[in-house]
Amino acid sequence: MALTLISTPLDITVSDTAVATVSITSGIDDTYDSYEFHCVGIHPSGASLPNFVFQVGTAAESGYDRNMTTAYFAAANQVSGTWTGLYYSANEDQQNSAQVFQMLAHGAGDENDDSSAVILKLYEPSSTTYVKHFVSVAQMNHHNSSNYQLNSYASGYINTTAAITRIQFKFDAGNIDAGTIKMFGVS
């Protein structure tokens, strides 16, 4: 099997207790060349239009604070069709920034039927030779004031040659009150 489900670190519904963060602290090693994180039905609570973000850590530290250089662009449309576009967002990229969580999905809606879906692919996190590439695609919608959907693409590299062993997902405000995150290894 080329794509192996390693773990499901998040699997909650709105009737469960919301979580502030989802941290994956095991299973990221040299077993696989690349890892995929499938985030499905991610729903926020406690904040207005938060951003879904991630950061990573190495075995030599306890935090999630690696330097990243990233690019971010998105396509968007409103239900009303009054604003559509494809754009680069300099507010969401990073320039070798430390301790900054990288945005994957921007402005998640918190109405009952709003949710976000993200696939993040991380290449060879166990390498001690190369920096670590990641590529993501996200789709979110919100039915709040501007009522739009956003298809966003974040990618870049984590500027370390130390092995990455941990990853954390969260909203930059409020909690995750529903959703599933699955970690797969690509053999």
Binding site: L3, A71, Y88, N96, Y130, Y157
Partner: protein
């Protein structure tokens, strides 16, 4: 009725467990750089067994600074990677460690209009020890003898001068002859590290 119990009686064997489920995503072959490869090619395994083939690039490292990762194919009636016509589009987004770029744009220098050159799929690879490129290229129905061959690619690169550059290219190979070989190389110099894995996506 051929139940499991009946079959066990007939054949005198024990059948247990669920029937085997074919892998949806099968690793066919891996091309690992030996540190000095002019190209990395797959000349076997690209056939009608799968509808869709994926090529996963993991930390492709270039010998030469500021070179591009490229591919071309060879059809069953061809002799080399030099006569398949490609029409393609290419766009990318990037940023530097110093915040000096931050842009998304179409790259007219790297598309093709019925060209036979190797198609660029990753831009401006750096050659420092920790620099590389990773990503996925997908080739659809290469064995078709009815349709042209579509492909898409997403490659993330640490480029010269410490840029991140995400490269989106796509297009079609304008040939209704089956394609059975594919070659990857840098636009100049060798591939000096990394690996390319070829996967097949199951038909059913």
């Amino acid at each position: 009725m051929p139940t499991t119990a009946n079959m066990e009686k007939v054949n005198g064997i024990v059948i247990s467990g669920a029937p085997a489920v074919p892998d949806a995503h099968t690793l066919i072959a891996t091309a690992t750089s030996d540190g000095s490869d002019a190209s990395l090619s797959f000349t076997l395994g690209l056939d009608s067994l799968y509808d869709v083939y994926e090529f996963h690039f993991v930390n492709i490292h270039a010998e030469t600074d500021n070179v591009n990762l490229t591919f071309q194919v060879n059809a069953t009636d061809g002799a080399d990677f030099n006569d398949s016509h490609i029409t393609s589009t290419f766009f990318s987004a990037g940023q530097t460690e110093a915040g000096a770029y931050g842009a998304l744009g179409y790259e007219a220098d790297f598309d093709q209009a019925q060209g036979t050159a190797y198609q660029v799929i990753g831009l401006y690879f750096g050659d420092q020890n920790d620099e590389s490129g990773s990503g996925v290229m997908t080739l659809y129905a290469p064995s078709s003898t009815t349709y042209i061959k579509n492909w898409t690619s997403v490659i993330q690169v640490v480029t010269r001068d410490e840029y991140t550059r995400i490269c989106y290219s796509a297009g079609y190979i304008n040939d209704t002859t089956a394609i059975d070989e594919i070659s990857f190389k840098m636009s100049s110099g060798e591939i000096q590290g990394g690996e390319i894995k070829m996967y097949g996506v199951a038909k059913s």
